[in-house]
Amino acid sequence: MMSFTFETVVLIGALGLAVIGALGMVISNHLFRMLLALAIAESGANLLIVLTGFRAGGVAPILGAGDPAASMVDPIPQVLVLTAIVIGVGVQALAVALLIKVYQAYGTLDVRELRDRMDADVAAAAGVEADASQDAPAGGRPLSPAPSRGTAGFGRRSPAPADGLRP
């Protein structure tokens, strides 16, 4: 029974790590924290996979190294988890590299600020209607007023003529 409780504890721990990580990714507002939360979530998932092959008192799954009759842990999850760890490390390294680029481009890693800047950027690159296409800040508009672009006062009501004039 001891082994059962131990497994259960680790199982709950693994799922807990995954949930903590996933929540962290959803609620944090800083890109680097999101990345750290991702690392936590990934370790939770990896732990769960290792656990699926776990046998209490099992030995390493190497033929010829020990007593073949002894129960071995299942090697397939270990292979899978090695792959997953390697992929995870690669993706995280790529993410850090991108973070540096993002910081160089915008000077901030705050999600909300970046989203505003990027939306403005996308709109500007797409055409001329940056004001009108401020992307659906549902309820957020009063809090973060769009920077005044010096267009005629009620220009937003009729974007078509305003845009026609600008290019």
Binding site: L31, L38, I49, T83, L98, V102, Y106, M118
Partner: protein, 504 residues
Amino acid sequence: MIADMTLSRLLAADVGYLVLPVVLPLLGAFLMQPLARVSARGARILGPLLLVLSAGITAQLWLQLGDAPFSLAIGGFAAPLGILFYADRIALLFALAIPVFALLFWPEFGPGAGGRDQAARRDALMLLLVAAATGLALSGDLFNIYVFYELAAVASFGLVALTGTGRSQVATFRYLMISAFGSVFALLGIAILYMQTGTLNLAQIAQLAPETLPNPIGLAAFALMLIGFGVKAELFPVNTWVPEVYAGAPARVSALLAGLVSKLAVLVVVRLLVLIFPQPEAAELMLVLGVLGILTGELAAWRAKDFPRMLAFSSIGQLGMVFVAFSISGEIGLLAGLAVMLHHLIVKSALFGLAVRWSGSLEALSGAAGVSPLASALFVLFALSLIGVPPLPGFWAKILVLIGLAEGGTPLDMMALMALLLATAIEASYLFRVAIRLYEDTPTPVPPPARRDLGVAALLGALLLAVTVGLKPVADRLGEDAAQLGERALYIQTALPSHVARKD
């Protein structure tokens, strides 16, 4: 070309060559950098050459081995222990479509803007994407599916960030985060499946599934994997990356991601659904998420003010429809799903091809028909097919979904049916708005699409018209494809060891 033909004739006799469409691009991707040091010209033609070769090998295999599914135990290790490639008609169709579409939307054949090193990097990433996508289409076990899925993800991160602008880097980062989030979910789902069945081989899981998985735990595993693989398939809650990425990435890359890569993720989900999770709750979950995708995508597309983002949102809606179609039980669901999926592959890729030069706001497109009548006519053709105007294939795809839903008849089905009709109205509204603008009489300087993109779009438009004319044979073939895709017993029989083709 002739050398290629004889080469593929030499190669094609053995099932074992099924690995080549994956291995060749993979090898090419890693040879690209050293080769570029030696000969820039050689590196430039290496990618397209390997794609032609892969497509030729797949086509030759298909011609020689016919339509019956076959599987290949890689390295000669039989299935439950070894890993396998499983090729049925749909898998082969995608294995053929991937290099062809990659060739059609190859970023640049010339050295491009960034110079030689940048070109080699870009081509290497494209080849990686092709290898991973082909691997996804062919893989018969979860381990490989996971690895290829991640490989496709990493390659697409690189391709999206290629433009090097700040916004594309932010978009890539958010894409990466959501994608990695999805991977964690998929891994959890795979872990649960392994816990319940003790294997990662799809066929063996399918054999064990009726006893071990029709329970809440199995359903949880499906939900986790649906979310996980749904990231690439633009499934509803995990698709927030779509508009930013398609607005920031080069339009040809967007065409590949929206057209091709999303479909492969859908194919993985469909395999899971057919083989492992036949319970109705799984399909219902997919239906609900699909309906939410349809509504949010189409409404957002209606509000969009620039061409790429309108296409991006509309592709969310269309993929929602794909999920709704596949959630219909029975063969009609598979048939409808395949039809919608292939239709979207052709149409959305072509539209993104037009977006290469029309990347600006929709308002700036007014009068484009005067500059480039062919491009505008093609846009109208694709728009009509997307909306589902009768003689065009899009109509038949959509009507299949509607019939399937009506036959299902549950309240959920009816809700989906209503959503689909509503979405059609919204679609018509925003697509016609653009079409009217194209034919407006106010000549503004709109850049005409480049000859190459226009050619690709015209080719795909001609394909669409050809399907319209030859609807009957295409529909028959698609029906057989769907029947084969839905046969669980056939998959198990083909993939499991006693029947595995070995190279000895």
